[in-house]
């Protein structure tokens, strides 16, 4: 079973998804800043321009509103564009076309069109790139009906979710945490998709449920390992899709473990954790809770440059260990 041991980096898996999509569907093409001969700021598109040519791997001017909006227009007119924001922070320059146009067009036009556009969104802190290049803005876009938001934790899901996004008839934002680009993992060859809207239980446990996405899944799994040594048994759910959230998987898990922690890098207030906490509070799982829900989120500040402060601004494994220990042992 040589296929099962094939490993790729996360960025390699994203690149492979783009290649598979372009091979399978002549309507698919890529747009973005420096994605051609430069290979992308994070070397994700790599040498795709040499394989598929400049007509399908298009370097755009530094014009995010125009570039992203052109992708939206092309999608409405039958193309399958994948637009790379060099950093997801720059999507703030293109909010108009994403939020007012792409998200609403189908609805406003009475369901007569669809907008199969994909935005790739490198996100997250940890690279020393400071306040304007380090944000985690998933919740912003998750707030907009008409958009779908996905975020993989593993190379396998990075490929599968991106292929699902490209094939989806509606606009999908694909967040990619920059610190994950270099991690390696098993990636199946050829075409496959990871379903949008489905979370995955990455670790079974009985004492508490952690809901996390992207890099926080890895930190939560590390924390769970530490706590296993103390006899605390943590269940880790990898959200994979931010919108629409897989409520069923989370509710079922919390009913079993009776405790919930939400761990996310985005700013804590009004973030993903607020939504997950609320959906549990509103569900039948509420009656099963043995402790208040815990949220560990990003600090109420921009991401600082100083490495010391940058670390302090987002939950680290130690914070998760301490928080979960308190959640399980502190209050019963």
């Amino acid at each position: 079973m040589s296929e099962n041991v094939r490993e790729l980096s996360f960025s390699g898996a994203v690149q492979e998804a783009l290649a598979v999509a372009m091979e399978n569907d002549p309507r698919v093409f890529l747009m973005g800043e420096d994605i051609g001969v430069y290979g992308g700021a994070f070397q994700v598109t790599g040498d795709l321009v040499h394989r598929f040519g400049e007509d399908r791997v298009m370097d755009t001017p530094i014009s995010e509103l125009g570039g992203a909006g052109v992708a939206v227009g092309a999608a409405v007119a039958g193309a399958r564009p994948v637009y790379e924001f060099q950093f997801s922070d720059f999507a703030s320059l293109a909010m108009e076309q994403i939020v007012n146009q792409a998200a609403k067009m189908r609805f406003m036009l009475g369901g007569k069109v669809s907008v199969p556009v994909v935005f790739r969104m490198p996100c997250g802190s940890g690279t020393g790139a400071a306040a304007q290049h380090s944000q985690s803005l998933e919740a912003w876009f998750g707030h907009v009906p008409g958009l779908k938001v996905v975020e993989a934790a593993t190379p396998e899901d990075a490929k599968g979710l991106l292929l699902a996004a490209i094939e989806d008839p509606d606009p999908v934002l694909v967040f990619e945490h920059k610190l994950l680009y270099k991690i390696k993992g098993h990636v199946p060859e050829g075409h496959y998709t990871t379903p949008i809207g489905k979370a995955l239980v990455r670790r079974q446990g009985k004492d508490a449920t952690v809901v996390a996405a992207a890099i926080m899944v890895h930190k939560a799994l590390e924390a769970a390992e530490v706590l296993a040594g103390e006899g605390i048994d943590i269940e880790v759910i990898d959200l994979r899709t931010i919108r629409p959230i897989d409520t069923a998987t989370i509710i079922e898990s919390v009913k079993k473990t009776t405790r919930l922690a939400c761990v996310y890098e985005g700013v804590k207030t009004l973030g993903i954790g607020a939504e997950i906490s609320a959906l549990i509070a509103e569900s039948e799982a509420f009656d099963y809770l043995d402790a208040p829900i815990m949220r560990l989120g990003g600090a109420e500040s921009p991401i600082p440059y100083s490495p010391i402060l940058e670390k302090a601004a987002v939950p680290q494994t130690d914070d998760i260990v301490a928080g979960l220990r308190n959640l399980v042992k502190g209050r019963i």
């Binding site: 125009g66 690279t127 020393g128 109420e300 500040s301 600082p304 440059y305 010391i308 402060l309």
Partner: protein, 344 residues
């Protein structure tokens, strides 16, 4: 260090171009010193990065020092600038001290942004520098707004906006220039056209050959200068200042230049040839300025060597100061998010 009246300026009898005629030898020497300071600061910053003292990324302006210094030579601390991700030259040109810049690079409390900003946000509001910017084109509306505030308070100051050729394709460029022209704001747009926005050449990204052409769409003068000649840059700046101060509105100055280093730390230069880079290294603005100063008899070889030695000392002292700086306390993380409730 704005140019003062020509009382002590370099001989008036001679047929000198305005840049040399209208500045004192001391001012010209200071301009040279700042150019060297930019160069040596960046070389040292690069070395610090390689030695692991700095993290993140940085964008070096090596080869582009003439535009930063030639523009800022006319400004006082009351004039504003907005800068870019490639902003060390603007910062030093406007009068920042390298020791606080190094401290910022090393993430120390002593740094200009108390270690919160790093290279890409370096700023010194005390000298009118409203900051580098991580967003391409981010400074264009800000400088325009600073000019609006100047106009409202009725002073004769100006705002200068540095930006790259890449930024001229952002909506912010077009919207800002139009507003500034309609309201006749005292703002000077300085495009440092180094011919690439990261890997994409202006031919591939921009519908016009010269960014200055776009000034016509906003009914303002668009001036093209040799960005590697501090004299050319400065003379265009002087004219733009006069126009701004007379209430005639904005000017767009396009400085044709080149960055001889990669875009940032991760650049592999796959989009341009070695020959192209080498040919531009031959047009280095600093030795060219030195040669001119000496040919005109304004500075001697010994003066020039004195400038370099002084810069070397400033760099070493600044670096030493910064390495001994204080690391921020994690508990201070929320400081500076808001003004109210902030412990000064």
């Amino acid at each position: 260090m704005a140019a003062k009246s020509a009382t002590k300026s370099v001989e008036q009898g001679r047929n000198l171009r305005p840049f040399y005629a209208n500045h004192t030898p001391e001012q010209l020497k200071e301009a040279l010193r700042r150019m060297w300071l930019v160069r040596r600061f960046e070389e040292m910053a690069e070395e610090s990065y390689i030695r692991g003292l700095t993290h993140g990324t940085m964008h070096l302006s090596i080869g582009q020092e003439a535009s930063a210094v030639g523009i800022c030579l006319e400004l006082t601390d009351k004039d504003y600038i907005t800068s870019t991700h490639r902003g060390h030259g603007h910062c030093i040109g406007k009068g920042a001290e390298v020791k606080y810049m190094f401290a910022e690079f090393f993430g120390k409390e002593e740094g200009y942004c108390r270690g919160r900003g790093g290279s890409m946000h370096i700023a010194d509001p005390a000298t009118g520098n409203l900051g580098a910017n991580g967003i391409v084109g981010g400074g264009l509306p800000l400088a325009t707004g600073a000019a609006l505030a100047i106009k409202k308070r009725g002073s004769k100051d100006v705002a200068v906006c540095f930006f790259g050729d890449g930024a001229n394709n952002e909506g912010a460029f077009h919207e800002s220039l139009n507003i500034a022209a309609v309201w006749k704001l005292p703002v000077i747009y300085v495009c440092e056209n180094n011919q690439y926005g990261m890997s994409v050449s202006t031919e591939r990204s921009t519908a016009v050959k010269d960014v200055a052409t776009r000034a016509a769409a906003y009914n303002m003068p668009g001036v093209i200068v040799d960005g590697n000649s501090i004299a050319d840059v400065n003379e265009a700046m002087t004219a733009a200042m006069e126009r701004a101060r007379n209430g005639e509105g904005p000017t767009l100055i396009e400085c044709k230049t080149y960055r001889t280093r990669g875009h940032s730390r991760s650049d592999r230069n796959r989009y341009r040839s070695k020959e192209e880079i080498e040919s531009w290294k031959g047009k280095d603005p600093i030795p060219a300025f030195e040669d001119e100063l000496m040919a005109l008899g304004i500075l001697t070889q010994a003066d020039v060597e004195g400038v370099r030695a002084g810069v070397e000392k400033d760099i070493q002292d600044g670096f030493d100061f910064a390495t001994k700086g204080t690391n921020p306390e994690p508990s201070s993380l929320l400081r500076g998010v808001y003004t109210t409730g902030d412990a000064a």
